[in-house]
Subunit: 637 residues, 2 copies
Amino acid sequence: MKSTVVFQPAGCRGMISCGNSVLTAARELGVAMEAPCGGGAVCGKCKVIINEMSNVSPVTEKEKKTLSAEELTNNYRLACSTQIYGDVLVIVPPESSLLNQVVLETGTVRPFSINPAVKKYYVELHKPTLADCRDDFSRLKAAMESRFIQLDKQITIDYQVLGSLPDVLRQSDWKVTVTLWQDSEIVAVEPGKVAKSYGIAVDVGTTTIAAYLCELTTGMTIAQASCMNSQVGYGDDVLSRISYCVTNEDGLAKLQQLIIADINTLVSNLSDKATINPEDILEIVLVFNTVMHHIALHINPQYIGSAPFAAVIKEAVNVKARELGIKIAASGYIHCLPLEAGFVGADNVAVLIAEQPHRQSKMSLIVDIGTNGEINFGNSEGVLSASCATGPALEGAQIKFGMRAAPGAIANISIDRKTKEPEIEVIESLVDNKTCLPRARGICGSGIIDAVAELFKAGIIRKDGSFNKDIQCSRLRKGATGKFEYVLAWAAETAIDQDITITQKDIRAVQLAKAALYAGAKILMQKKGVAEVECIALAGAFGSYINKVNALVIGMIPDCDPASVVAVGNAAGEGAKLALCDNEKRSEAQEVARFVQFVETAAEPNFQEEFLQAMYFPHGRDQFLHIAGIIDKIPRS
Amino acid sequence: MKSTVVFQPAGCRGMISCGNSVLTAARELGVAMEAPCGGGAVCGKCKVIINEMSNVSPVTEKEKKTLSAEELTNNYRLACSTQIYGDVLVIVPPESSLLNQVVLETGTVRPFSINPAVKKYYVELHKPTLADCRDDFSRLKAAMESRFIQLDKQITIDYQVLGSLPDVLRQSDWKVTVTLWQDSEIVAVEPGKVAKSYGIAVDVGTTTIAAYLCELTTGMTIAQASCMNSQVGYGDDVLSRISYCVTNEDGLAKLQQLIIADINTLVSNLSDKATINPEDILEIVLVFNTVMHHIALHINPQYIGSAPFAAVIKEAVNVKARELGIKIAASGYIHCLPLEAGFVGADNVAVLIAEQPHRQSKMSLIVDIGTNGEINFGNSEGVLSASCATGPALEGAQIKFGMRAAPGAIANISIDRKTKEPEIEVIESLVDNKTCLPRARGICGSGIIDAVAELFKAGIIRKDGSFNKDIQCSRLRKGATGKFEYVLAWAAETAIDQDITITQKDIRAVQLAKAALYAGAKILMQKKGVAEVECIALAGAFGSYINKVNALVIGMIPDCDPASVVAVGNAAGEGAKLALCDNEKRSEAQEVARFVQFVETAAEPNFQEEFLQAMYFPHGRDQFLHIAGIIDKIPRS
């Protein structure tokens, strides 16, 4: 004989053979539960609450010793010592719930609970008869309630789902899987049992967009994809995008359509990779800076662009996918994480819920490198944040041979100090498993940082960023415009039949970007009265490719022990994934958006001076003691 | 000096000169408040609650005598005796609130409170500065809260309203009128002060659609309009509409589009009449039978058409106007009143909240005449309801010269018993104030009932409905089809240059309709064990034109003292209006939909026999003692 067992708040349910323990049931149904002693009733960690005491085995002597009198009164039991005899609802208190862990490519471990906004429930309904002619919706709600599914009192059903409800119920013989959004709205009713549930996390950057398809019952990322933001044709940075919206009558609508089209392309791409139907995707979590946020929601971004830089809405926004024209399930939701302030947007909030400086005692600096760089500095006592107009150079844009961190990109470079000859590493294609070496197509962000750092270390460029024309080297030459450039790869070695070079202009773009980041970080440190940084997290789309020492060599970040610098990958994307899989993270996002204090660094009196000094490699004035060994070896010219 | 005074729950607010009494303020701001003594501090009816006691005049000796100790502790005051010295929030308890009353053309008075789902609030915001750079939405919420506007904790803003928010705020110098829907969602933000608020109540019948434009701060109906339901081209009754949906691939979509187009035509028509912008209309309340309800919401109506007649959703549905393509404010809502059961729909629920048999001790019969007739019988101890397939004859459809109760319709008829000559009354056009008599274009529902009753009384038709060929009369003739017909108006007297006649087929249609109503009523009476009806309310689109005695003469309703028969007009439309203007009525609708017990009369064993007997005039078997004087004078043939 089997009984129905339901675990809350996970929402897992299933038929379990009578006589099995609640712990066994939990394992069978995939409920993560603490049980370090392996079910020996020793550790007392597998505490659960059971209201239907008559449907389970009596309290054992061991349980009487392990559980407090109060716990026993409140129907607490040990899952390992409680046998199932009939239908039960098992409540797993937070202390017994085992958190899932996601391990990034970079090795960062981020614990979170599996508690998505969209949850699926399989239910079987009583068929209507002349004696019981309740309406389909009431019938559905009653079936859910009889299965202990916690429903919002005012539960509603999406208008379009309602339209398909009568046919789905009858064609599936009244056995359906209901998808609830935030326990309050039915957003899908599918025939039969549907176990898997999908959502997408998207980080919409000014220059690049990264998307992750997650299976929401496990929190696993099952596919990822990225593309350029099509808006790049309408301006390289957020200010030029604002300007396009303000000066063109349909500018806002046009730029919005571009973002939506990009997201739709990624949705289709991810669905193909995972061989699922885009209609099966029921939620997208979006993170972006304030300008991308406003444009995506068709909100005039004009007023964010000038003092007092007021955003239109900072709190999280939920909007139906069909309202935005995003082609997932029409009834599905788009959740935009809350914004912080001015140019510091939901992407930084996502970085914060991923990195959680506000829950640590150590003072940490988090640098998120994008077209608009974001810097956070602080700990549980307070976190300051700032936005830096870095430009897209560090993402491989506005660089002569720049490209995204995709197959064919030069991602790592070293230059021999004597011969001045480079050694390059190209990102391999994951699709074709050829044994021949991949041929370069361009240089991505990490490659650009390496190139500049290595040119500096080899003495080919000077402290001020200019090429040292006295260097004798076949790779240093005058380019077509008369300006100097360094050849990283000869045409014959590339996939594009052109010499891949680093130009003087490229180096200037890197200088501007790194100076903006460094000056921003410096000002936050000064605000906190801290002269040295204990640890640095480097976030950005380039993931694990970045060479931390070279980031120090060019002075992109303040001096720090390289061992304490961690590349954390696309932390904004990770934060978006966390918010997709765990509702608690959405609350944390709302809290942290209020907790973090925004600093308008450009308005600080010493910003100009800090910025100018930071243009030098590694810096005009500041000492880089942790990499003194490297700096001291650089030939002076 | 002026102070801000806010009245709750009405939500009215304004600037009032200091020194004025709260009662004066209430009158100035249009808050309906009891004050039978005219403000003399005598009657004690104008009780209000004021929390900011320091901003009003001290408690007077008269108040100390009139108010209880408990009331005084709880900050109760008399509005007439309390002078305003500063900003105050005035809470008007229900006992002091004067209910508005709507007087129908028929004289029925229906009390209700002005408490619409959409409410407007004028607010002035603090402009953003570098020191206060909150987002626009937070700023708006804060301004509302500082004006004591009760907000739902999770208040949201419509996606499209959000898009226009920054420009509206700045272009209006941060002084705007916010429209809140159900205290939980901002559905409009308009520049400056906007006092008036509009909504529409629509009764979507199977054959005709009636719509009423109301000003929501006063509950006044400012325009009305009606039209044929364009679906009549796809079947005369609900079953044929269902059949069209089932047998045509796009049948449901097509019929939905027709309803939406009709509603849009009425919206545009009403807006023109009231010279307002359709965008200013923020809510529509729809009532209809279950089939019209499902079709309007694009829900497959197939399963309502056959046993066990299960509806898809009975509870009230709220859906954005733009989702349905209804052209009022895009962010506005369409509220569909709850359904009862099977074919007894939201229109009957509307009739019930208008007529309120469930709140009366007297047993009353309510007959709502439409293509699908609804009958309710009972009192506060229980109400039974039934649906009757009357067909559209009584609405003037399926009748050779039938038309709606519009200008040109013959609405009242009497036939001289001796000469057999008719006297007709034609509905005058309200538009052209000509002195000449209006010329007939056709016959509306009340005219048809009169025609049949008068033909019967004059002996021109027999008890079984057939024409008495022995009658010598120039108006009785064989028509084109060889069947007899009676000429109501000669071509020369009409506006259509044709003789307007009543045919044998017309009489048969009336017989079927009235028999369905009578048999239904009879079965409900039998269920309740009641042989006689105390009072009857006749509801229907024909309004006050109906001749109650003639309704008895043809046996459309059970025998009853004509003085106790009341024509209540379009009660479904009135119920829709009440739900539009008063949220409490929506709760009442939900309660009454559950309270009323549906009887499937056609499934009753004696239905066929009752129906057959009811085909006769006035009835095959039942005595009509209250009109015996009339019946007895009818010449037998």
